[in-house]
Symmetry: C2
């Protein structure tokens, strides 16, 4: 298979890879993302997607052996020094992929969904995506003001969950009217206790800003308010922790234990 060797920082392609690897919103200009490391690249392939290019560190070309790459995928080999320059991480990867994002997506009305209202921290967003994928949710809608879903830090924290989900960014609050599944929100002071509440399936869970929570106008749109018991007192939960608890409860309610579980 043909391999291109690129060693220069002054290559427009190299500079673009670096921007994608280090700038959290560069993907919005080019429509491509930089997937860093073996795990993310494999997660893409596992979900039946193909990268535009595989970028391998010189001396480690065998890393992509056995990957189910389509014939048209470009293979590029770069010196370790250049991979480190592109990556910017303390531990640069041995392999990366360039992946072209699917065309802009619209809100799907009937999928089990998580709605993010201005969640800021990339680690939280990535963790919520992972929980969503693990618990059978299929769509994540990021309202305006939420961290960029395909930012490098979110991709790392998401550990491949991105490729299992229908992701829509820059969603207007009004677009939530299109959802045909009930919208649930957590509240600190009202609603049914999560462990006692009958949970509808499919549903959409609303998760809010780290400091301010879900905006009031949005709370008013929720069909159900749910509380999480906190016997320890007045402590609050991290938003990704609260999301994990709620999405798990939905999964238990909808699917039960695996003997009788199946994807809807």
């Amino acid at each position: 298979m043909r391999e291109d060797f690129i060693a220069s920082r002054d290559n427009p392609w190299t500079r673009q890879c670096r921007a994608l690897a280090q700038d959290s919103t560069a993907y919005r200009k080019t429509g491509q993302v930089w997937l860093e490391g073996d795990h993310l690249c494999r997660a893409l392939l596992t979900r039946g997607q193909q990268p535009e290019a595989v970028v391998l560190t010189e001396g480690h070309q065998s890393l992509a052996e056995g990957w189910a790459l389509a014939p048209g995928v470009r293979r590029v080999v770069v010196p370790a020094r250049l991979m480190a320059w592109i990556s910017g991480l303390e531990s640069p990867p041995l392999v990366a992929c360039l992946y072209r994002l699917p065309a802009t997506r619209s809100v799907q009305p009937d999928l089990p969904t998580v709605v993010l209202d201005r969640v800021q921290d990339p680690g939280n967003v990535g963790s919520i995506l992972r929980s969503a994928a693990a618990f059978g949710f299929r769509q994540v809608l990021a309202l305006r003001g939420t961290a960029a879903l395909w930012a490098p830090k979110v991709l790392r924290a998401g550990m491949g969950a991105h490729f299992a989900l229908h992701l829509v960014e820059g969603v207007d609050v009004a677009a939530l009217d299109d959802l045909q599944v009930p919208l649930l929100a957590t509240s600190s002071h009202q609603g049914q206790w999560l462990h006692q509440a009958p949970l509808p399936w499919p549903c959409a869970w609303l998760m809010g800003h780290e400091g301010q929570g879900v905006a009031e106008a949005l709370m008013a749109r929720a069909h159900g308010l749910i509380r999480i018991v906190q016997p320890g007192g007045e402590e609050s939960l991290n938003v990704a922790a609260a999301a994990a608890i709620c999405l798990h409860a939905s999964a238990v309610s909808a699917f039960g234990a695996p003997e009788n579980a199946s994807r809807p």
Copy 2:
């Protein structure tokens, strides 16, 4: 009340504050931590603790009015420029506290406990501390190799949970033999399903390294293995998400809904 005004970076006290604010393990040398922002400072006071000093940005001295500070607490006023230099954050705080850590603590054998086995990410550690405090756990043991519990990033992510918990760092695996509560661990492939398992209370939950999970030798010490349903497929969960789900399940099992909840 007397206020000291400090404006110089060349003051040993100022330099020490900066080290505590920016270096994740500086507290181990001095036994003090830098608590940044109104929320953390108030969380300390709410738990009946006192800082050594309150550090206020010039022009914002009124911020600490109404705080239940002991007479011996030093008040220091610094120019905004110096606070920014100490903090190193993009948005420096208007108020901070210097807090002297309690003397080295030993493992308490019978408290509801979370054991951290080499959890690396400060955000994850802080999130787990928040969940632990919220769900009625009282002790967190950090085995050797875990991120520094009192590091500035962990303090920020912990949102005050540190002051609600008995925290012990640098714990040897052998010290887990002192625990008189059953040790539970999550497993991806064996054990009872969390939502079906009878959960003992008090108990100790074992949470492991982000990539490697709980060390095998430790898994062998667990009295119970617990699985979390994941109908979405082979995705894995972030460790702080898994912790939140498990600790919540324990809280529900031990306390139920608040009508019949009380601290043990």
